[in-house]
Symmetry: C2
Subunit: 300 residues, 2 copies
């Protein structure tokens, strides 16, 4: 089966892994994308893997590694250590794919001296540190059968979350590494506005790097906590028909993960959230994935 729906646990932040897995199974879905803190809460990645398997589910991705932009040695070493641990957890939980949010400017992350130091606002240098950190992690990830999945974030988060802002940039960053070890995620919230989106999705397909398709809407106004501007599909301004068609035309047939940070959605009953996302997916997304798949060019 293609295009199976998966729940990213960021959508149901008040549930334990056990509760989330039960809700997903009750909704008739087969996949879950957990966040790392739920693994820790469950007693470790092996125990989390058992919870997921016992519920009859599989893990699609693990959220998240990354944050590779520290400009000091200690910060850099800590980030690499955290990412190695995340790689091991990804393997143990059976997800195979670790989502990487690469980190923002040190000035915004508070890593060094704060907003006053011009060197901490050098986005070009921050990107070079991401590339260097990725290169250090790739052999370790490959050794453990884990794929590092680069996530371009919406440019509104470029200062504080990710100096990786477009799919094209993610593919350039991935280029020196094998496609089976470094992939990219297409997240509709982050990339819908990109004038190069169609060509870069097609390129990602040709290069065998589309590791995940994550969906949610782009709502307005931007939420007071900007991270929570993600919305249920259909509530905002994303053209799911077009983007879903492009993703499927590029050859992607894997799970489709719903990740929504939104006060209202996060606070409501998980069964309602799952029922709504299933319906919206069926109405707004899946038909266009299927149409795209019918027109897809074969890829490796």
């Amino acid at each position: 089966m293609s295009f199976e729906l998966s729940l990213n646990t960021g959508t149901t932040p008040n549930l334990t892994l056990e509760q989330a897995a039960a809700a997903v199974a009750d909704a008739g879905l087969g996949h879950i994308g957990p966040w790392r803190h739920l693994l820790e809460q469950a007693g470790g990645a092996e125990r989390a893997a058992a919870i997921i398997t016992d519920a009859g589910l599989s893990a699609t991705t693990l959220c998240r590694g990354g944050f590779l932009t520290a400009s000091d040695d200690a910060g850099r070493a800590a980030a690499l250590e955290s990412n190695r641990a995340a790689i091991l957890e990804t393997a143990a939980v059976g997800a195979g794919e670790l989502i990487m949010v690469v980190g923002g400017l040190p000035a915004a992350a508070g890593v060094l001296g704060g907003v006053g130091d011009p060197a901490d606002k050098d986005v070009v240098a921050a990107r070079e540190r991401v590339a260097a950190g990725l290169a250090e992690l790739v052999p370790f990830a490959a050794e453990h059968g884990v794929r590092l999945v680069l996530e371009p974030l919406h440019p509104m988060y470029a200062a504080d979350r990710a100096v990786l802002s477009t799919l094209g940039q993610a593919l350039d960053l991935a280029a020196p590494h094998p496609a089976e070890t470094v992939g990219v995620v297409v997240d509709t919230f982050h990339v819908w506005w990109d004038p190069q989106l169609q060509e870069q999705i097609a390129r990602a397909g040709r290069e065998g790097r589309i590791a995940s398709y994550q969906i949610c809407d782009f709502n307005l106004p931007i939420a007071a906590d900007a991270l929570k501007s993600r919305g249920m599909m259909g509530d905002g301004y994303v053209d799911f028909a077009t983007i879903s068609r492009w993703v499927a035309e590029a050859g992607y047939t894997g799970p489709v993960e719903v990740e929504i940070f939104n006060e209202e959605v996060n606070g409501q009953d998980a069964a309602l959230t799952l029922a709504t996302m299933k319906q919206r997916y069926a109405d707004l997304v899946l038909p266009h994935l299927e149409a795209g798949a019918a027109a897809a060019v074969p890829t490796r």
Copy 2:
């Protein structure tokens, strides 16, 4: 003289044109970039031109035309009419350059049926309408000696303000038209995050299209009214040293306009704002423009 500072009146929204012109002259600056409503308030573009000239100033740009994304005939006709009026005002006020904010999705602008109609979220189609509208306006602008200046806006405004999000996209949109009639503006707030910024600024210089360099900072957190997240240079996360060097290396030597929408800055005494922006400009921007100019490749 190169790199002369200009005040965009969006920075001092509580002042009339006469008051703003006086404040600019008192601060020892020679340029002002007015918004259209100040022209109307002053009794028309000719009267506004006299106010600006009498204060010993010149107008750098007029804000703004654009909003070309309506998908209905009436909306489209109204937009073209408004733009023709703005072109005439630009000529009359002596600015020569009309800043164009191209418009967002009809779904977000409330032009048609609202968020429910998928066709109103088609960003590709909205961009095609911008290109068509621009093509209709170019001969009229050329006839009146006015340059239409395309402004890529930060992607956080792609839904409701501008489906034009990157400098590269602006240059592609400008490409069919003469450089003397269609230019682009480099606004640090909007473009600082762009991984292609260096190459696209260089391209804009080669193509003779840099019409304006607008500066302000990118502040966090994003303001409750997202439009007001712009900050005084040095208060946020923009690397002014690097971007200013690139702009000057690309051959730009014109005015540098400060446009800040920010509750605190907009509410304070204009003399303080002007003094602060002069100081920050001297400290954080001008030295890097001068260094870039020294290394600039000659352009037409």
